[in-house]
Point group: C2
Chain length 363, copies 2
């Protein structure tokens, strides 16, 4: 009785791939991309390939994962001693495979040439982002895991800020945040933690430095945990003491912009419309030109996945999608402000998953 409920969810996901295979006129499908291997088989190791055939699914891995793979996955497991693609080739010949869909967005040009050489009599059919398309709509169990990741992330920030002291460096605070995440049960961080203070907040992707965090400045923290493989993502910008009027106005503008974008999140709304809602508010404040990235992105097994919530993304939101909403304004020499929540598209509208408050906190 290895096939518990958890396992049958993987089988369901694989079944949802069938229309793609039919459309590509392929009778088999191969993925070697880690998040897609995880999604379709349950296996989380660093080296895996899933081959889906009519009535049969094979997970290939190497001897390091010989024990782990059958524990995690409902697939037939093949432990290869050499390169996985060579082993896939052997099985393809044995099983008389005639056509195979491969992920052109995931496989390198070199792996493609390897596949072509080990699968001489197999027609190779490129498909593009088909597992990623399935992954955009999260199942109830995935939403549960993302909620756990988001909650843990918020608690980690709260606990880290309790340890905050005026002479701390950006690195110290990043260390504290990641330590709390880990103790609370995260697998690790979902991305490089950003802690930036003062003028460095104007760099949207600043690495923490040994700068002591100083009074009367901005402090921007962008952090995400990985919990059972699922990412969370939150940004908060705090004030250390007094901010000048211009900066307080910037904060107000970004918060209104973020709330307007969240308000626009509902099934059927296009990502463009959500992005536009954020930009419109910033335009009213004369700050639109300082908003130099997209409003948000999907997240799940990867920190950046579909849909992109940007100017040109026409995807319509559907229930079960989980996206970030994170407008920001960056002015060199003055600083930057970004506010970010993780938001679930629900049947009727949206649910903001991030519990952390957004009023300007003075530390």
């Amino acid at each position: 009785m290895q096939h518990t409920n958890g396992h049958s969810e993987f089988a369901e996901r694989r079944a949802r791939l069938e229309p793609t295979l039919a459309e590509a006129r392929a009778n088999a499908f191969l993925t070697t991309a880690r998040p897609n291997v995880h999604y379709l088989s349950g296996f989380t190791g660093s080296n895996g390939a899933v081959l889906i055939l009519p009535g049969r699914v094979i997970l290939f891995t190497d001897p390091r994962y010989a024990t782990q793979a059958p524990q995690q996955s409902d697939c037939e497991v093949v432990v290869a001693k050499g390169p996985l693609l060579a082993e896939v080739g052997k099985w393809a010949r044995r099983l008389k495979l005639r056509s195979l869909a491969f992920e052109q967005n995931r496989i390198s040009f070199e792996e493609f040439t390897q596949l072509r050489s080990v699968l001489k009599n197999v027609r190779l059919k490129p498909v593009n982002g088909c597992v990623e398309a399935l992954r955009m709509r999260k199942s109830a169990s995935e939403i549960g895991t993302i909620k756990a990741s988001v909650r843990l992330n918020s608690i980690a920030l709260e606990q880290a800020l309790e340890q905050f002291q005026p002479d701390m460096t950006e690195v110290d605070l990043a260390a504290e945040i990641e330590y709390r995440m880990r103790l609370l049960g995260a697998d690790g961080t979902a991305f490089e933690t950003i802690v930036a203070s003062g003028e460095r907040t104007a760099l949207p992707h600043a690495h923490p430095t040994n700068h002591p965090i100083q009074r009367n400045q901005l402090l921007l923290v962008d952090m995400g945990a990985s919990v059972a493989g699922y990412a969370s993502d939150m940004t908060r910008t705090h004030a250390l003491g007094k901010l000048n009027a211009k900066t307080r106005r910037m904060y107000k503008a970004v918060l209104e912009s973020q709330l307007a974008a969240i308000e626009a999140v509902k099934p059927g709304a296009s990502c463009t419309a959500v992005d536009r809602a954020a930009r419109t508010v910033l335009r009213e404040y004369g700050l639109e030109k300082y908003f130099i990235h997209s409003t948000g992105h999907g997240l799940g097994l990867e920190i950046h996945e579909g849909p992109r919530v940007g100017r040109k993304e026409k995807t319509k939101l559907e229930p079960g999608m989980v996206i970030t909403i994170e407008p920001g304004v960056y002015q060199e020499g003055l600083g930057g402000i970004r506010i970010e929540d993780t938001v679930l598209v629900s049947e009727r509208g949206h649910e903001v998953l991030t519990p952390t408050g957004k009023e300007l906190v003075v530390l």
Copy 2:
């Protein structure tokens, strides 16, 4: 005077690529792979492309990195508003590019088709691992950074073990290790920290769990820091109280195997020979069949890079290469032991960079 010594090292690296371009009969080279972008331009952001032309080098990135890129790199910086490959296409037309070498091991099949469509009149020449080949031999400044990473990693383990308490879980210890790394100045971990105790040590790539670490068992820790982008990698297996005679013998065998492999490291020795030295010792103990992975791997800007120290890797070691030596023995139901150091190939032989002792430590 932006072109400091640090910068001219990037120019030197780019110059070392010229023979590859000549061989590929291409007058330009493109990389989009993050570690190769870092290596050739100094830029560390998550979205970059380097285009090398005769007498000109352009670094493409997006507006998030508009401030950071010119600070880090000696290249001409182009900030693209849309996808980088489209921007590369525009410049290629403007500069009347006729042929371009691309990294077939790094670029996805999809990116290749995009390149082909934006570079219609340009001959595309696949090259394979040419930057990775340069990266195998580290410069003096790279060796300095790797040494700093290795030392920091060892200090982090020492500090974390000082906090060790008998009721700690694997996750608690992993959290402590990563916290210490961060406070000591690491950018983060170089890979997912492995903390496994008891029978779970038999899984070479175990995730830390909420298992309390118990008495009279093995405790395996495999950890690496990232310092200024450069990885370290170390494994130690400790005893919690008394181990049985069989396990003690296993430890002795793995340690002898590791020392024999290190002894074999010198310029001109093949990776196969180093791997064989490790296996020969384990065979004498009747344990060779439980050694289910390679003896080691190169490391630097990535945690796994060339050369692979495995059975079939014929690469000859050269001064400046930095590799791990990490034989292990894994017996289901009993446990696993692995001992790993980071080792520099020196002019005359080798230098073990890892300062942590390898005698069996009883916690």
